[in-house]
Assembly symmetry: C2
Homo-oligomer: 477 residues x 2
Amino acid sequence: MSNKKFVEKVTAMEDDFGQWYTDVVKQADLVDYGSVRGTMIIKPYGFAIWENMRDELDRQIKETGHSNVSFPLFIPESSLQKEKDHVDGFAPEVAWVTHAGDEELAERLCVRPTSEVLFCEYYSNNIHSYRDLPMLYNQWANVVRWEKTTRPFLRSLEFHWQEGHTAHATHEDAAEETARMLEVYADVAENHLAMPVIRGKKTDSEKFAGAEYTLTIESLMHDGRALQAGTSHLLGTGFAEVFDIQYLDKEGKQQYVHQTSWGITTRLIGALIMVHGDNRGLVIPPRIAPTQAMIVPIAQHKEGVLDQAYDLRDSLKDIARVDIDASDNMPGWKFNESEMKGYPVRIEIGPKDIEKEQVVLVRRDTGEKEFVAMDALNERLPVLLEDIQQSLFDAALAHREENTNVATTFEEFKETLEKESGFIKAMWCGKESCEEKIQEETKATSRCIPFEQEKIADTCVCCGEEAEDMVYWARAY
Amino acid sequence: MSNKKFVEKVTAMEDDFGQWYTDVVKQADLVDYGSVRGTMIIKPYGFAIWENMRDELDRQIKETGHSNVSFPLFIPESSLQKEKDHVDGFAPEVAWVTHAGDEELAERLCVRPTSEVLFCEYYSNNIHSYRDLPMLYNQWANVVRWEKTTRPFLRSLEFHWQEGHTAHATHEDAAEETARMLEVYADVAENHLAMPVIRGKKTDSEKFAGAEYTLTIESLMHDGRALQAGTSHLLGTGFAEVFDIQYLDKEGKQQYVHQTSWGITTRLIGALIMVHGDNRGLVIPPRIAPTQAMIVPIAQHKEGVLDQAYDLRDSLKDIARVDIDASDNMPGWKFNESEMKGYPVRIEIGPKDIEKEQVVLVRRDTGEKEFVAMDALNERLPVLLEDIQQSLFDAALAHREENTNVATTFEEFKETLEKESGFIKAMWCGKESCEEKIQEETKATSRCIPFEQEKIADTCVCCGEEAEDMVYWARAY
């Protein structure tokens, strides 16, 4: 239990969304800042949320046939430089190890910003025949990218993620894998984080450095800015040609493998905060909440109250993740703390409740209260948790729909963005110059070309020439 | 399934134990070498073994009240240098980051070799009152130590571990914690890895850099060399004084916290190999085996065999971790592969077995075969697995006892070590000079002062002066 004397106020999100975010992250005890600029310490509550996300994703990664592995932290400079687009994309922001103890290294080593290069070198040595394929690897790892401006979870010098790296016999197999893993990400986001996502493809200018194409799930935050929640890349044979990853096919012919890579990061915690949080703090979806229900005893100094509260916790332990706040703080303080931490349900139990053999359940999301007979709690609590899970998803979806607009002309596009934030659906000709112009004049970027296309107009919202695709645009994190 | 055409021979351990180890590690598909000297790639099977160890240890760490957290990878040079003994112990083997992108950093950062320093800075900012104590943190992380000679799992530039870091109000609380976590380590080693350990205290010359004392569990490998399998350090108030970690006690007085730290690493996989393995490969204890039983179909081209084999696997899936080798390799090849990987049980099923409604169970440890009726398998398999688990422990314990000798004079000590390896129990006066002399002349080091003391003699085995403690000595990894 925290020993803070009171829950400090958080800035209202309407007044300053950035400050609201920072306040919540700090007040809810998720992180602290590391001593190196831009690094973060993930505290117990923040890490417990990450563990629950990670465990669910890990389960699905294994269920789809992948094996976890562990590759080294360091990449020799010469290896990083082999794939041109890749090194251009990452070299400006890598950390370089130059010395070990007192000695200067013969070759500089970069701290991995991502591990395609290392997996490629391994695949080159370990893939020989079509029988070795597909090779389906994943690793949970820390990576380092030397970002100029940083924010806890959203952008930090070091972050945690999983990176899947796979090699396949054919383009079709690799394309299927790319789509399959995007669907796994969408499932975790929607069904566990209660966070609706748009599934689509990145434009070429937004794709991963070295990829043929990048698939993405995009979500909308409370403030109307978009956040890329996970990406899955079809690498094609680009890396295989550079790293010479070939296999002997059934006809005895040498072929390049077709690769994919895909990743989800601790950024998702930031998304979770900005999709569900409110001015009282976090709101954590029940399926990933470390504590699904917090018992708060009322008048706990009175005889029997604490005993009953502990009995209650024990009786619920196989039903849900239940904890008890038996600290000597006042109930009002505990209510605030419970709301700040975003526990989905608060269970109040006091002398009167004990007399009536009932408890009070308070939903974190809507604040609704209900009285439930103690002997009905085992049945009611799981139903309530599922209801909250669904309600959070529905609310986030409704918010996204309210904040998704359509523009058919550039004027309309700019006016809409000036009036309100959110997604704009608009047609695009496929030219990078239009993307650049839109970004320059509105700060909105192309988020994705959604799989679910709508024909909003015949012409590009920017240049007026023939349109190719409908694109989601937004200002983004 | 592996597609290797045959299981290559491993060197007999009697001929060259080091080569046997390297062969097994490679043939059983546990690791590959990274492109940076001394780094390793942990392959799927190796990582699955680590995951099972880790999950059990993680469960016990949480059960004893600790929370997982995540601290940064980098430590500023100025922070590392604060605690004198600590920096002396680690500085010679740390990797230094000096540049990010094109820019030289204002201060060098070391890649953590261990994280006491970062936890101390955090504790200094976050511990204020006795109500904040104890603070019980743990992290699973990668650390880097620039070792000159390396070997997969046993000594590598980068390795995985958990590091617990705790702060307590009193010396007594911290000492209890230090002992508690050693006992957790001993439990995981003995009851899950089937690896008997000696519990004891390191001599001052062998303790952790900066600690008041270090507790250790020591195990004996097949070749008679010892391996330190886990350590738990009482740091006392040394770090607290340097980093100014104080709390207000109940009487309103400022007090320094008493700290501990404790860790177990991927080294344990090396220990597992060298305690249980044999000339046919790995032997993995059932409780942590990723595959507890491997089904090998015999004459699988015959009608019904593969169907029955798959049905068998499905029927056992809630009983044990069962897999099937349905590759088109020959049964003999599959037997070898199954032995190399150390699956505790092999289940053979062929046309004759199907006719008789039975299967053949083959134990990896003893090679014993038994015929079991198919409808009795659900009961028999778990019992057999438990039996193997116990037998592995018993065999390792017997091996240790056979290879533990007593010496009362230095002559005897040297003669014993010349004739046979293993532990030597001998009395010690407590002087570092005797430890140094013993190491110089015999290459044996003090492994620990065991909690279970025996009075073997009155005088030090080296100098002949009055003895303080009985010590376990051995040549060690």
